[in-house]
Symmetry: C2
Subunit: 215 residues, 2 copies
């Protein structure tokens, strides 16, 4: 009845999602409720709940024996990038048109975070800050539908984005592109924000597809 409480089920979901999408569990690996229940020292109930949510996001799929970790193919990555290419620009446009000053401030903060880590050349943190910039735009675009659509797609690429930004040249370029997008959003210039974002996603796609080694 308390809705701010972080339940065990939520924690399990986040842990499993992170571990699957970052490669701790390999593609094809089978997860069963009982084993996870033992490993994580919680009952099957919260495990079930987490697995069901992962299934709905097609991160795992049912088999005759447990839930199998769904792999992501090179074609999947390409398709997801293509979808993002059509939506992220619109999200940025809406963010430019709809965000208020406090929203723009918080976007600026994530940008400064990214700048800090880019200077420190810390790939893991760069990846997180990079992700946070995009997710902040989703949150600012004023459309739950857009946010709910883009967030799962974005999360599915984290593993590959980490590889991508571990090249310092790409990390630097991504930061500059983000800065330009931020300026357009801060100026409430929807058209420019959209245009710059599309270019940015194109570059990100090329960088990911160039480096992605997929099973």
């Amino acid at each position: 009845m308390e809705h701010k409480m972080i339940s065990i089920a939520d924690q399990v979901f986040e842990e499993l999602e992170r571990d699957i999408l970052s490669g701790v569990y390999e593609r094809g690996e089978v997860l069963t409720e009982m084993k996870l229940s033992e490993q994580l020292h919680v009952s099957r109930t919260p495990i079930r709940e987490a697995l069901r949510r992962l299934e709905q996001e097609r991160i795992i799929e049912p088999t005759s024996k447990g839930m199998k970790v769904v792999g992501i193919s090179r074609a999947d990555i390409s398709d997801i990038c293509e979808i993002r290419l059509r939506l992220e620009g619109l999200a940025a446009r809406w963010a430019a048109e709809r965000a208020d000053e406090s929203g723009i401030r918080s976007l600026k903060e994530t940008l400064e975070l990214q700048e800090f880590y880019t200077q420190k050349q810390d790939p893991e943190s760069i990846k997180n800050a990079d992700s946070q910039f995009h997710q902040t735009i989703y949150a600012l675009c004023g459309s739950h539908s857009m946010q709910d659509t883009l967030e799962p797609l974005h999360r599915k690429l984290v593993k590959y984005r980490r590889v991508s930004v571990s090249a310092q040249s790409r990390a630097q370029k991504s930061l500059e592109e983000h800065k330009a997008i931020f300026e357009a959003i801060a100026a409430h210039d929807g058209a420019t924000a959209e245009k710059l974002t599309i270019l940015h996603v194109q570059n990100a796609r090329d960088s990911i597809l160039q480096r992605a080694i997929v099973q």
Copy 2:
């Protein structure tokens, strides 16, 4: 362990989703696990599972006391249409490029179904056949990501689509647009399929927004 079995939880999910999206439960209404458990004569376990999935699709949201049915505003409808406008064309293009003969046959079948009901002027069945045409394209486009992205958005509009196609003129026009899209897909002409689909979604959007009376 059996994964083809239709569980009680699945049935409850589908029933609740249908009833919420078609307006049986009003926006703002609060659903509690215990009441649903009594009403539907099943234990709380499958109810919980269904509610969690509905929550993940943002069809309900947690409150201090139970889950509240989330309403959909006119702005939401407009945003969803705008998103579909950017994606459905791509889905149709991919379907044209990727579908095999059996897929094209099944698409033709849904089209014939729609034609039949349009002649009979049966709005409920027209709406279903219309939906099925789009969902078949999602299934044929060869991208789970695209399918998983578009399907929930599409389902959220069913209530408004029913109103839209209850005008015979729109039902007739929608059928003709579908026929043209089908021809392009059957001819594996991706560019034409994309162009026609974008026009179709624009028309559908205009029709929905014109008629939609939102709380």
